[in-house]
C-alpha cells in the first residue's frame, strides 16, 4: 500500500515538474506569414528577442515558395496551398532578412527582434 502511495506521489511530482515545459510550449509565440504571387504578407514582422518563436508560413500562390534566411539559418520549401511552421532560433535584438528563394525579385522581408 505504501509503495502505491509513493508511486502516486512520484507521478504527481513528475507531472508538476513537467508542467512548466508544457506551459512554455503553449506560450511559445507563433507569428503568421503568408506568401502569394511571390510577395510576403506582412513583409515585416516583429518578434520577441531571446525567445523561441515559431512562424507559420502559408503559401497561397500556385507555385512552390522557399522561405529562406541566411542570417537565421532557415530554409523551407512550401508547396502551393500548404502551411509549414518554422522554428526560429532565439534571436538577439536586431533585424533579420528573409526571402523567397524561388521569387527573389519580389519575395523579401524582415523580422525585427525586440
Amino acid at each position: 500500500m505504501l509503495s502505491i502511495t509513493k508511486l502516486a506521489a512520484a507521478s504527481a511530482m513528475a507531472a508538476l515538474l513537467a508542467l512548466p515545459s508544457f506551459v512554455a510550449a503553449a506560450q511559445e509565440p507563433v507569428a503568421e506569414l503568408t506568401c502569394d504571387s511571390g510577395h510576403f504578407q506582412p513583409a515585416s514582422l516583429n518578434v520577441s528577442a531571446n525567445r523561441q518563436v515559431r512562424i507559420k508560413v502559408t503559401n497561397r500562390g500556385n507555385s512552390p515558395i522557399e522561405f529562406e534566411s541566411f542570417e537565421m539559418n532557415r530554409e523551407r520549401v512550401v508547396q502551393p496551398g500548404r502551411s509549414i511552421t518554422v522554428i526560429l532560433p532565439k534571436l538577439d535584438p536586431g533585424e533579420y532578412h528573409f526571402f523567397d528563394d524561388f521569387h527573389h525579385e519580389t519575395g523579401q522581408g524582415t523580422i525585427t527582434a525586440r
Partner: protein, 154 residues
C-alpha cells in the same frame, strides 16, 4: 618604350589589386555535421572547402583577382550550407531536412562539386559510387528529419 607601357600598366594594376584586403578566415566551428565515416570522408574531400569552416586555402587563393573569386565562392557556399555549424539548422528539423534533401539532389545530379573546382582539385572529384553513397544517406536523413518536423508543420 611605348610598346612596354601596356605591360607595365598591367603589372602595376596587378600589384595594386594585391593590396585590396580579402577575408579568408576559418571561423570557429559549432556542432559539426555528423555522418558515418565513409560518408564524412567523401563530404570532406568534395565539399568542405566551400561548405565548412575548415577550408584549405590554396596558395593561389591569396593572389588577386583569383582571391576574390575564391573568397566569394567560400562565403556563398558557407551561407547556403555549412557543415561546421550544423547545430544552427538542427533547431528546426524542417530546415535540416531541406539541407539534406538538397545535398542528396546536387550530389546525385553531379552539379556539386562544380567542375571549375574539381579542375583545380582533382581529389575532390566524386565517383559514381561516392555520389550514390552520399545521395542515399542524405535522402534517408532528410526523411528522418522531415518526420521530426511533421508535428510542427501541420
Amino acid at each position: 618604350m611605348r610598346q612596354l607601357l601596356p605591360a607595365a600598366s598591367a603589372a602595376v594594376l596587378l600589384l595594386s589589386i594585391q593590396l585590396i584586403p580579402v577575408s579568408m578566415t576559418n571561423p570557429p566551428t559549432g556542432q559539426e555535421f555528423s555522418a558515418p565515416a565513409e560518408v564524412g570522408s567523401v563530404l570532406q574531400r568534395g565539399c568542405y572547402d566551400c561548405h565548412s569552416n575548415r577550408t584549405r586555402w590554396p596558395w593561389y587563393a591569396h593572389v588577386a583577382p583569383v582571391s576574390w573569386l575564391v573568397a566569394h565562392d567560400v562565403s556563398d557556399g558557407r551561407r547556403h550550407l555549412n557543415f561546421s555549424t550544423w547545430d544552427a539548422y538542427a533547431g528546426d528539423p524542417g530546415t535540416a531536412a531541406e539541407k539534406l534533401r538538397k545535398l542528396s539532389k546536387v550530389t546525385s545530379k553531379g552539379s556539386m562539386p562544380p567542375w571549375y573546382y574539381t579542375m583545380m582539385h582533382p581529389r575532390a572529384r566524386l565517383t559514381r559510387g561516392d555520389r550514390m553513397l552520399v545521395a542515399g544517406w542524405a535522402a534517408r536523413g532528410a526523411s528522418i528529419e522531415e518526420s521530426a518536423s511533421a508535428p510542427a508543420s501541420r
